[in-house]
């Protein structure tokens, strides 16, 4: 295992120390329990926006804390949902009297821990609405399964809900927007390599030099299918096709196109992917109105990418464009 770490057990703690040191001008970090919070929290009268999940997906979520996006992020152990006590303390830290939105990625662990946290928070007198993000078309959605995973749409929901909360919208509205982003988003991802969870020390799965995984999540878990490695254009078609047909996205739709790196793929390759995404959407008459290209929701050092499309409307577009000031996403501020 080749990593720039000290103790595998201390990875999350030390990274949080680094975040606190690097961004102390605008963030505070609580260590016991662990959360990353806006320095000016709670903001009186503003809905608090909270998200959280396992670590190893950086910059998500801690890198998205700041005005216009998250008020607070709860990091769990690597790839492991955080715990209800963290979420409760974080909820209380950002409750400005207008309630708190919990943005939850659809994983059994996350959902159950957030459920418990919401019960505890309500018992403490904080109004909480939880919205579950489940945009991954690689997973069959069925009442007999855990349902679709939450992946790329999480970043978009955090940005858009953060903007709405910053604009003073009430909790019900912000939660409704979150559901709309989730409803109108679809994602699919792939991996060229596995990743190594620090406390495990070996790759979560093994891929031969000429193989790839299609339909992966963000936890180094195997994907839906293993197949022979292909050229980027063919891979992109495998990602875009199921996304476009699922919602469906159609001619005349305006979308936000998000090409996300899994952590170990260089930006030069992500632009090659973006190029093909844009070409395929263009062929179908789907207009890209906004775009995002980079490493935003990662799986440690995994090589690979995911594509997310969000169908835009006037409100979502203007909330996307609103100022945001976080370590990882910043404009207009």
């Amino acid at each position: 295992m080749k990593k720039l770490i000290n103790d595998p057990e201390a990875v999350v703690h030390e990274a949080l120390e680094g975040i606190a040191l690097a961004h102390g001008d605008r963030l505070r970090v609580s260590f016991e329990p662990a959360y990353v919070v806006r320095a000016d929290a709670p903001v009186r009268g503003k809905v608090g926006v909270l998200s959280g999940g396992g670590s190893g997906h950086e910059p998500m979520h801690g890198g998205f804390v700041g005005p216009g996006m998250l008020d607070v992020a709860c990091p769990g152990a690597v790839f492991t949902s955080p715990t209800p006590d963290q979420m409760l303390a974080a909820t209380q830290a950002v409750d400005g009297g207008a309630g708190v939105l919990h943005i939850v990625k659809n994983y059994t662990g996350d959902v159950m821990n957030f459920e418990t946290a919401a019960e505890l928070a309500v018992a403490e007198g904080v109004e909480v609405e939880a919205v579950i993000i489940d945009d991954d078309v690689a997973v069959q959605d069925s009442t007999y399964t855990a349902g679709r995973r939450g992946v790329g749409a999480t970043v978009l929901a955090e940005k858009i809900c953060g903007a709405a909360a910053e604009a003073g919208r009430p909790l019900g509205d912000v939660a409704a927007l979150c559901r709309r982003v989730d409803d109108q988003s679809r994602s699919m991802g792939m991996a060229l390599t596995s990743c190594v969870v620090p406390h495990v020390g070996t790759p979560t799965f093994e891929l031969a030099e000429d193989e790839m995984e299609i339909g992966i999540g963000i936890h180094g878990e195997p994907g839906r299918e293993r197949m022979k490695l292909e050229a980027a254009d063919a891979i992109v078609a495998r990602l875009v096709e199921p996304i476009v047909t699922d919602l469906p996205f159609g001619s005349g739709d305006g979308v936000l196109a998000f090409v996300n790196g899994m952590g170990g793929t260089p930006l030069i390759e992500l632009y090659i992917v973006y190029r093909r995404v844009a070409q395929l959407l263009g062929e179908r008459g789907i207009r890209i109105e906004r775009s995002l290209v980079g490493n935003y929701i990662t799986s440690l050092e995994m090589a690979g990418c995911s594509v997310t499309l969000l169908k835009l409307d006037h409100e979502l577009t203007s909330l996307w464009d609103a100022p945001v000031n976080t370590p990882a996403l910043r404009w207009g501020a």
């Binding site: 769990g76 790839f79 715990t83 059994t108 159950m112 495990v200 999540g217 195997p222 839906r224």
Partner: protein, 209 residues
């Protein structure tokens, strides 16, 4: 004494089996189940250390709360509910548990897991180890078995239940994303449940009943 012994012995064994559980979880999940359980039980054992040991319900509740705030992932809330469920069932129990009390507790614990996780038998989860154990323990208790005997029966049923997850298609938790690819693997949560029951049989088997 026995609850503490159970939890300490569990912590030690989970630490021993940590890599194996991680590996099982890597096959059909994300490879952290061993780390999660070892972390949680180490914290629970530390929490009980020096606490009064004549109130099983209070001890089990403390274990459940500790697991809830230290394990994370799916296993945290599920085992949290398990121990809190056991504690609730034993609210009025004395310092020393008999087979009937343990049977009530295991029933309540398993019910807690199902309430939280909504898994049914055959979904390839810890439920597939816990329910057979619950039934075996209830039967043994009804047949007048000693606690040690009853727990051994429960542990064997849990082992068999865990082994029986191999051919199943996962329908809950992270393994469900794999669809058909989940077939042919042991469920790590079922294995950790069986391990906890085997440890209970050892803890109460050795303790004076």
């Amino acid at each position: 004494m026995a609850v503490q012994e159970w939890v300490k012995l569990s912590a030690a064994r989970l630490e021993q089996h940590r890599d194996r559980l991680n590996r099982l979880d890597a096959d059909i999940g994300d490879g952290d189940h061993g780390a999660n359980m070892a972390r949680g039980f180490a914290a629970a054992a530390a929490r009980l250390d020096g606490a009064p040991s004549d109130q099983p319900a209070m001890e089990l509740r403390a274990v459940g709360m500790t697991l809830l705030s230290t394990v994370g992932g799916a296993a945290g809330p599920l085992y949290g509910s398990f121990f809190i469920g056991m504690a609730t069932a034993l609210r009025d129990a004395g310092a020393s548990l008999d087979a009937a009390a343990w049977a009530r507790a295991l029933e309540a614990g398993a019910a807690g897991v199902q309430r939280r996780g909504k898994a049914e038998p055959g979904d390839k989860t810890m439920v597939d180890a816990l329910l057979p154990a619950r039934d075996a323990l209830a039967t043994a208790a009804a047949d007048g078995a000693s606690l040690a005997e009853a727990l051994r029966a429960a542990a064997s049923a849990a082992d068999a239940g865990a082994d029986a997850t191999i051919p199943l298609l996962a329908r809950k938790g992270r393994a469900s994303y794999l669809g058909e690819r989940s077939v042919g693997h042991l469920d790590p949560g079922a294995v950790s449940s069986a391990l906890l029951l085997r440890t209970a049989a050892d803890a109460w088997g050795e303790s004076t009943e």
